[in-house]
């Protein structure tokens, strides 16, 4: 399968394990359900990125599912995170949002959905660690502006709209600076603080 998918690893790194300083996210070990939804969203235009859309245009759902499963089952060690490029106050703000959220602004903690270790939950919720800071910044920004969307109710978009640009920057820097646990197995799904279209229903 890896021989078939060299088209992916050119950007996402050997075996889907991206270099920690690049933009492209690591896809190895992300949950299969999540990866499948992203592949389908790229192909069908809900997640706009011309390179991915054009590349995936001639592929059917069955193959996208196979691709998702292939990368999901890769269990590869994570490199140590790069040293943080943000000041201590920014990192503290990021940590607080990730671990406690901000009840006053109805922002749940990242941990509430993405797992106490932030390494993902079940088949549909991806881990947030081991990703480049630029990628995290761009994705949270895209959720906030509506450029990145998921099935309704789009809880991630609702949360991102409550975040200020400084919150996003703080989260991206803190998350990117965390060491990924040696055994980042996803947790089993528990009750989520919001209803999310991408966490249930037919794929």
């Amino acid at each position: 399968m890896a021989q078939r998918l060299l088209a992916c690893t050119g950007c996402h790194g050997k075996d889907g394990r991206a270099a920690s300083d690049g933009y492209y996210p690591r896809i190895a070990g992300k949950p299969a359900g999540y990866l499948f939804r992203q592949l389908r969203a790229f192909r069908d235009g809900q997640r706009p990125y011309a390179l991915m859309s054009n590349l995936l245009a001639p592929l059917d759902d069955a193959y996208l599912q196979d691709i998702a499963t292939h990368f999901a089952t890769l269990d590869l060690p994570h490199a140590a995170p790069p040293p943080p490029r943000a000041d201590a106050a920014t990192l503290r703000r990021g940590q607080a949002l990730a671990q406690q959220g901000d009840a006053a602004r109805h922002i749940p903690a990242c941990q509430a959905c993405h797992g106490t270790a932030l390494t993902g939950v079940g088949e549909d919720v991806p881990g947030l660690l081991g990703l480049p800071v630029d990628y995290l910044n761009a994705q949270l920004g895209a959720w906030r502006t509506g450029a990145r969307r998921a099935e309704a109710p789009d809880c991630m978009a609702q949360i991102a709209q409550r975040l200020q640009p400084q919150d996003i920057n703080a989260l991206a820097h803190w998350l990117a600076a965390q060491t990924v646990p040696a055994q980042p197995a996803p947790e089993a799904p528990g009750p989520a603080p919001m209803r999310c279209g991408s966490m249930q229903g037919p794929r």
Binding site: T9, G45, L51, A57, P58, A62
Partner: protein, 414 residues
């Protein structure tokens, strides 16, 4: 003076009458007897024909409800938006009669008589038989209705006027029907009917003049698809067996269909019966091959070839082999490939920059993909490695210029 004015007026009236006649001729004989549209067999036949025509691809924006319309087709004159073909009474074609549907396919006119833009390829569809048109209509009427108003086209003046369209049609459109050739086999004629009619192959595989009309559509001599900048190659004279296999599986031992054609394989040709595919391939093989245009442009300079060889060694040889031999059933061979030496080399640039997968098909469900190099290789690098490939292993073709790469980098895909 008065007589001159009168003569001018008469001339104008005669021109207007001619223009009017050129646009409505052929309408009358299409308004035939009603047919029973609810027969399951007719609907099933219509579903097959809709696949053969790849109707869904243009009439469905990515990720939207099938046939709900609104996909933008980029043209040099602006963007044409496809229409809602679901049976919604208000926004779709639910209130149409079979005769009105036939007139749209055959004569390019909408229910209210408006002239349709030829991005909807009625210059091909005019050859669809009345029975097949009814089957298509029956199939569309059976789809779930979607209330989705048609999106107005975004065309520049004067192309956005009905008058311009009437003049274009008077110049370039003749309503017709498919005329089988008695001297040819039934297979050949079936193939010609599909290729020239529903398949509308000439929409891409023929070049277009300055006003967007196809040149000699039946010859399928190939052309660069405007704005998308993929070369739809000449289809004449290719071995029928390989063509049929390419259309069914998306790949053959020595080639792969990529880019816009991979989407055609995914949505359309892989679903056709082997006998229809073979008929199309037989027809295509019989077309007269134009004399191959000799290499346009200069041979590459030694310095460019040297640079190209280095890039090939670093990035390409691991899959395509030191001698361009590829790997059987995985990576296509480059040595001896027709596609590598074609002019203009647009497809090579597209594939190197954007990467590509062939279609996933029943015969090749998990195709091997080519990685994109857009972020890794500069225009000069891409030009050098392609110039090298086009002149290695006994190939002889013009150099690829960095300017070509830069131009094709900014292509549009609908």
């Amino acid at each position: 003076m008065k007589r001159l004015l009168a003569a001018l007026l008469a001339l104008l009236l005669a021109l207007a009458a001619a223009l009017w006649w050129l646009n409505v001729r052929g309408d009358g004989d299409r308004l035939a007897a009603p047919v029973a549209l609810d027969s399951a067999a007719l609907v099933e036949r219509g579903a097959y024909l809709a696949r053969a025509g790849n109707c869904q691809d243009c009439h469905t924006p990515r990720g939207a409800a099938p046939y709900s319309g609104g996909r933008g087709i980029p043209t040099p004159f602006g963007t044409v938006y496809s229409s809602n073909l679901t049976p919604d009474l208000r926004t779709g074609i639910g209130a149409w009669t079979p005769a009105e549907f036939r007139r749209a396919l055959h004569n390019g006119r909408s229910r209210d008589g408006r002239l349709l833009y030829p991005a909807f390829p009625y210059d091909s569809y005019t050859r669809i038989s009345a029975g097949d048109a009814d089957a298509l209509f029956a199939f569309l009427l059976g789809l779930p209705a979607v209330a989705q108003p048609n999106r107005p086209h975004a065309l520049r003046f004067p192309y956005d006027t009905q008058l311009a369209l009437a003049v274009w049609r008077a110049l370039y459109f003749r309503p017709g029907r498919f005329e089988p050739q008695a001297a040819q086999s039934a297979d050949w004629n079936r193939g010609a009917y599909l290729v020239q009619g529903l398949g509308h192959c000439s929409a891409c595989h023929a070049s277009r003049n300055a006003l967007g009309a196809t040149r000699d559509p039946a010859a399928l001599a190939g052309g660069l698809i405007p704005l998308q900048n993929w070369l739809a190659p000449a289809l004449a004279g290719q071995p029928a067996q390989e063509v049929a296999s390419l259309l069914q599986r998306g790949v053959s031992d020595g080639a792969a269909l990529l880019g816009p054609m991979a989407e055609v394989v995914l949505h359309s040709t892989q679903h056709l019966t082997p006998s229809d595919l073979s008929a199309m391939a037989v027809h295509l093989q019989s077309l007269r091959q134009a004399d191959a245009p000799r290499a346009r442009g200069d041979a590459p300079a030694p310095a460019q070839l040297k640079r190209g060889a280095g890039i090939y060694e670093t990035h390409c040889a691991v899959c395509h082999g030191d001698e361009g031999q590829g790997r059987e059933r995985a990576y296509v061979p480059l040595a001896g490939s027709r596609a590598v030496q074609r002019d203009p080399p647009a497809n090579l640039v597209q594939v190197v920059l954007g990467g590509a997968f062939p279609a996933s098909t029943a015969g090749n469900p998990r195709p091997f993909g080519m990685p994109p190099f857009a972020t890794e290789l500069s225009d000069e690098d891409v030009a050098a490695v392609l110039s090298y490939i086009r002149n290695a292993w006994g190939h002889r073709a013009a150099a690829v210029q960095p300017l070509d790469v830069q131009r094709w980098r900014s292509s549009v895909r609908p």
